[in-house]
């Protein structure tokens, strides 16, 4: 089975930060439609700060995720600080100490991250949140590996499901968070968190895929 190196993959977090910072205005614009318009600004601030701390170092993926989780949790606030902060902290806990990340580790990491998110918030799939990206992606990954697909194929399924999950939020009525006060008026636009989550997960999958190698 293929895997990718933890210690050689810290740059994936820098790519995530790049993608989030690039999408700063877009994410805030989406959030402004039915939310308060701060999503891109805060995400870019948190991911940008983490990238600054990591830039000159030589952190592996686990370490980099730990730094990102810390920065989000301690500096950002809002909804994303705790939710993504917890997610990345939990991710890092699973892969810390593992030199190679194989599909089983990757899946365990996702499950632990999900548990962290749900411990802090209490949203469910269908509430029009980042979970509508995260949960289908995780499920697609597990289904692909259970089907005997390669790590690379499973990562593709993961990314595709994340994007599909993100798009599914357009038709949803928000049940949690700020937009839930709008009731039916929240229908018809993407959820901001679901959109940033798709960016994070597809960048993670892409970075992992590029680094995949047969065990030496």
């Amino acid at each position: 089975m293929q895997s990718f190196s933890n210690s050689a993959s810290g740059a994936i977090v820098l790519s995530m930060a790049d993608r989030i910072v690039e999408n700063r205005a877009y994410l805030s614009e989406i959030d402004g439609k039915i939310g308060d318009g701060d999503h891109g600004v805060n995400m870019a601030k948190g991911f940008g700060m983490a990238a600054d701390r990591l830039k000159d170092g030589n952190a592996g993926l686990g370490e980099a995720m730990n730094t990102l989780g810390d920065v989000l949790m301690s500096e950002i606030g809002g909804s994303m600080g705790p939710l993504y902060g917890m997610m990345f902290t939990e991710f890092s806990e699973v892969i810390e100490g593992k030199e190679q990340i194989d599909p089983a580790t990757f899946s365990a990491m996702l499950h632990k991250g999900l548990a962290g998110i749900q411990e802090v918030g209490s949203a469910k799939v269908g509430d029009k949140t980042l979970l509508d990206t995260f949960v289908p992606a995780l499920e697609a990954f597990d289904a692909a590996t259970a089907d005997g697909k390669s790590f690379g194929e499973a990562l593709d399924a993961f990314s595709a499901a994340a994007e599909k999950g993100r798009d599914s939020t357009v038709d949803m009525v928000a049940k949690i968070g700020r937009a839930s006060r709008l009731g039916e008026r929240s229908r018809g636009v993407l959820d901001a968190g679901a959109t940033s989550c798709a960016i994070i997960l597809t960048t993670l999958a892409e970075g992992a895929k590029e680094r995949l190698a047969e065990p030496a």
Binding site: D36, S74, G77, I176, L182, G183
Partner: protein, 334 residues
């Protein structure tokens, strides 16, 4: 949208720098963080510490209400974003006077997560924490779902009542109970004529038609619960007051406190026109206005609009509101 800004990413830090310079007689930074501030008089031995906070962009909320008789400390987040747990926890520790700490903040996903984490940190250090989440925005969900409602400008009256309870040396239990009652008896509804623009984007989040208004808006520039054709000031007040009267179980002879609040760009002139009608409507119901505040108390950046808050008073709440306090933007008595 033009604003007085330097690097937009520095807006919150620069604002706080200016605010601390401006209000240094009242507040000072909490050690170890740039995002929490405490009253010069805090902590006071034997007194419950009151910690409030939330995102910035609501000035003078929350920072302007720190001082004797009101909040002991405030934690300040980025624009429209809850502060992270660290400044909240540091604020609580800094103002703890041995009788525990009361947290009051608006009911938003972000604030709840961050304040709860902070409460855990503080309690782990042996300081009891109680939390009252404000839910005064009657437009934000049905009456049966009171706990799901947003906390908006009524916050200020709730902070005032709770601050007085703390100042009187009441127990943590009693302070929490008073704050909870203040919240349950406060009813707010807001109307926006134009949206706000964030410092970083300098664009409006959405647009309201030239003949329309957004009814039931919160304090984060989000759209309201309904868009309706623009009406006269009196008709707007009537709509809001009718809604408040449906919710508030009052009787002729009861007393209320009123807050008519600008969301930022609605000038005092128009607030007075609104207040005039609010008082007329209350009088017609036989209600006495025991206290009232008209001005910029809890804003949403540069949003054009206003909210009306009514707190239904019993003897205890009336006494708490009349208790002296002295903060940069809220003062009572001598």
């Amino acid at each position: 949208v033009k604003k007085f800004l330097n690097d937009p990413d520095d807006i919150v830090d620069e604002m706080l720098d200016g605010a601390v310079r401006a209000h240094g007689a009242y507040l000072e930074p909490v050690p170890g963080t740039r995002r929490a501030f405490m009253a010069r008089e805090a902590p006071r031995e034997g007194k419950v510490g009151l910690v409030v906070g939330g995102g910035s962009g609501h000035e003078p909320c929350f920072l302007g209400y720190v001082g004797p008789g009101m909040a002991d400390a405030v934690a300040v987040g980025n624009v429209f974003s809850s502060p992270p747990p660290d400044p909240i926890a540091r604020a609580a520790q800094a103002v703890s006077g041995g009788e525990g700490v009361l947290f009051i903040y608006g009911n938003y996903a972000g604030d709840t997560m961050n304040f709860e984490m902070a409460a855990e940190l503080v309690q782990a250090n042996g300081i009891p924490v109680r939390t009252v989440v404000t839910t005064d925005d009657i437009a934000s969900s049905r009456a049966e779902d009171r706990d799901g409602r947003r906390g908006v400008a009524g916050n200020v009256l709730i902070f005032k009542a709770a601050g007085a309870a703390c100042d009187k040396g009441w127990s943590l239990d009693a302070c929490e109970r008073a704050a909870r009652k203040a919240n349950l008896q406060t009813y707010t509804m807001g109307v926006a004529l134009e949206p706000c623009s964030m410092p970083q984007t300098r664009r409006y989040n959405f647009s309201i038609g030239p003949q329309d208004m957004e009814v039931g808006v919160g304090i984060h520039g989000e759209p309201g619960v309904a868009r309706e054709p623009m009406q006269s000031a009196d008709a707007v007040v009537d709509m809001v007051m009718n809604r408040i009267f449906t919710e508030m179980p009052s009787q002729s002879g009861d007393r209320v406190a009123v807050l008519v609040n600008s969301f930022g760009s609605t000038p005092l002139m128009e607030l007075y026109v609104l207040y005039r009608r609010v008082e007329q409507r209350l009088k017609t119901k036989g209600l006495t206005v025991a206290a009232r505040w008209v001005g910029h108390y809890c804003t949403s950046l540069d949003m054009v609009g206003a909210s009306i808050s009514v707190m239904h008073l019993d003897d205890e709440l009336a006494e708490l509101l009349a208790h002296p306090c002295d903060t940069p933007f809220f003062r009572v008595g001598k």
